[in-house]
Amino acid sequence: MSEEILTHLIPSITVTQEPIMYSLRLTHPVSSYLLSTGILPATCWGIAALWIIVMIKRLDIYEKKQHDLLLQLERQQTMMAIQEVSIQEAERKRIAADIHDEIGSNLAAIRVNLQSLHYRTAQDEQQASNLLQLVDQTSQNVRRAAHNLVPPLFGHIPLTDILQSYFSLLRTPEVLFHFCNNKYQPCFDARQELMLYRIVMELTTNIIRHSRASAATIQLLYYPEYLEILVEDDGIGLPLNGRPSGIGLSGVKTRVKSLGGKLHIDSGISGTTFIIHIPVIPQHAAPC
C-alpha cells in the first residue's frame, strides 16, 4: 500500500528501482512516526522560531552597529569642526600680530619721525601735517582690524575687563547694550577664553544684524561649577521655520560643544534668551 502511495506521489520512481524502493521502505515508517508523534512539526516550528530569533538578533546587531557608526561620524564631525575653529583662531592670531606689530608699529614710527623733522617752509610743514593726518587715519584702521581679530593682550587680562571695555565703546544706533558680570574667576585657559569671547561676539553681532531689538543684556556669571553666559534681547525672536544655523549660530554651537557646555535657546515674541553653561574643568578649577 505504502509503495503505491509513493509511486503515486513520485511518478518517476518505478518499482523496479530496487535500491530506491529499499530506502523508501526504510524512511517512510520513520517519517510517519515523526509526523504522527508531532516531533517533525515541532522541530519545524523550532527551526522557524530559531531562525526568527537569529534574524532579530542580527537586526539588533546591525542597528547597534549603525548607531555606533553614526555616533562615530558625529564625533568625527565635531572634532573636525573644533579643529577648524582652532586653526581659524591660530590664523587670526598670526594675522593680528602681523598687522599690529608690522604695519601698526611702522606707522607709529613714521608718525613720530615726521614730527621730529625740521621744516624749512610753511608749505613743507603743511604737507607734513597732512601726511600726519593720513598716518593717523591709517593707524586707526589698522588698530581696528587687529583688534577685531584678537583683542590686545588677550590671555593676560581678565575676559570680563575686555568685554566691559568692548561694550563701553560699542555704540549702535538701534540697540542699547548692557554688560554685567560678577567677580571674574580665572577658571579657563587663554584658548578657552578666546572661545568664550567669540561666543559673546557672535551673539552680539546676531543681535545687531537680525534681532531688531532695542535693548540687549549680556551677562557673564561665574558659579563654582560652571560659567553662565546669558544673552537676551527684546527683538523679534529667531525665525520659526528658519534654521538657527542660518544666522551664524553654528559657530556658537561648535564652540559650546567643544567646551563641553550646554546651550539653551528661548525665543518668542518677547525676544530671545541664550543661556549657556560652560563647566569648569577640574584641573582649571583650583585657582577659583
Partner: protein, 207 residues
C-alpha cells in the same frame, strides 16, 4: 630754567623709540638715558640708571608694559611711569592706572601732548585719558548696588506679587527654564539662600 629730567624709553620697535628720543631731545632739559627693547631689559636699566621717568609700551616681549609697571611701582616707587601705547581700550587705561602708572598716552599723540604729560607727571599729577562710560539702563536706585538687570528687576517685582515661576513665564512670554535661571541669578546677586530670605529682603526694601 627747568630742572634736568632723565628718561628711559622701552619699546620693542626701535624706529619708533628712536623717533621719540629725537623728539624729546629737542627739549634742552631732557636727556634720554637709554632705550630698552623689552620689559626685562627696562627693569635692569632702571635699576642701573635710576632715572626720573620711564616711558613704556604695553605690548613688549618677555615682560609686557603692565607687568613692568607693577614691578617698578613695587621696587622703585620713586621712578614715575608713563604708558605710551597704540591701544586706546578703556580696560588697558584703567589697568595701567591700577598697576601704578602715572600717565597714559596714545602713540598718535603730538609732541606738545607728550611734553605736557611728562611735566605734569613729574609734578606728581596723574594724567589719563577720559574713559567712556557704559550706557547704564535706568534701574531703580535701591537696587543699583546689586548689579541687577532690567529683566531681573522685572521678575523680582513679579515674585513680590506672589507670581509662581510658571505664571512669570506666561506673563513675560519666557520659558520656565529661563525664569528659573533668572531667579537663581537674582538670589546669587542678592546673596540670599532661601525663598524666605528673599521675602524678608523684599519687605526690608519696602516693596
Amino acid at each position: 630754567m627747568q630742572p634736568p629730567v632723565n628718561i628711559i624709553l622701552a619699546d620693542d620697535h626701535t624706529l619708533f623709540a628712536d623717533g621719540i628720543r629725537s623728539l624729546l631731545e629737542q627739549t634742552p632739559h631732557i636727556t634720554v638715558q637709554g632705550i630698552a627693547s623689552n620689559g626685562q631689559v627696562l627693569i635692569e636699566m632702571l635699576q642701573r640708571h635710576q632715572p626720573d621717568l620711564a616711558i613704556l609700551d604695553i605690548s613688549m616681549p618677555m615682560l609686557n608694559g603692565l607687568e613692568a609697571t607693577k614691578i617698578i611701582r613695587r621696587d622703585m616707587p620713586h621712578i614715575r611711569t608713563i604708558i605710551l601705547s597704540s591701544y586706546s581700550d578703556p580696560h588697558l587705561v584703567s589697568l595701567s592706572r591700577s598697576y601704578g602708572a602715572d600717565g597714559y598716552l596714545m602713540k598718535t599723540c603730538n609732541q606738545y601732548d607728550l611734553l605736557q604729560t611728562i611735566s605734569r607727571v613729574l609734578r606728581g599729577e596723574s594724567c589719563f585719558p577720559q574713559l567712556p562710560r557704559m550706557q547704564e539702563p535706568e534701574i531703580d536706585h535701591s537696587f543699583r548696588e546689586f548689579n541687577l538687570t532690567r529683566r531681573e528687576l522685572e521678575i523680582l517685582h513679579l515674585i513680590n506679587q506672589q507670581f509662581t515661576n510658571q505664571q512669570i513665564a506666561t506673563h513675560l512670554y519666557l520659558s520656565i527654564y529661563t525664569v528659573e535661571t533668572h531667579r537663581k541669578n537674582i538670589m546669587q546677586k542678592l546673596q540670599l539662600k532661601s525663598p524666605a530670605a528673599l521675602t524678608r529682603f523684599l519687605l526690608e526694601k519696602g516693596l
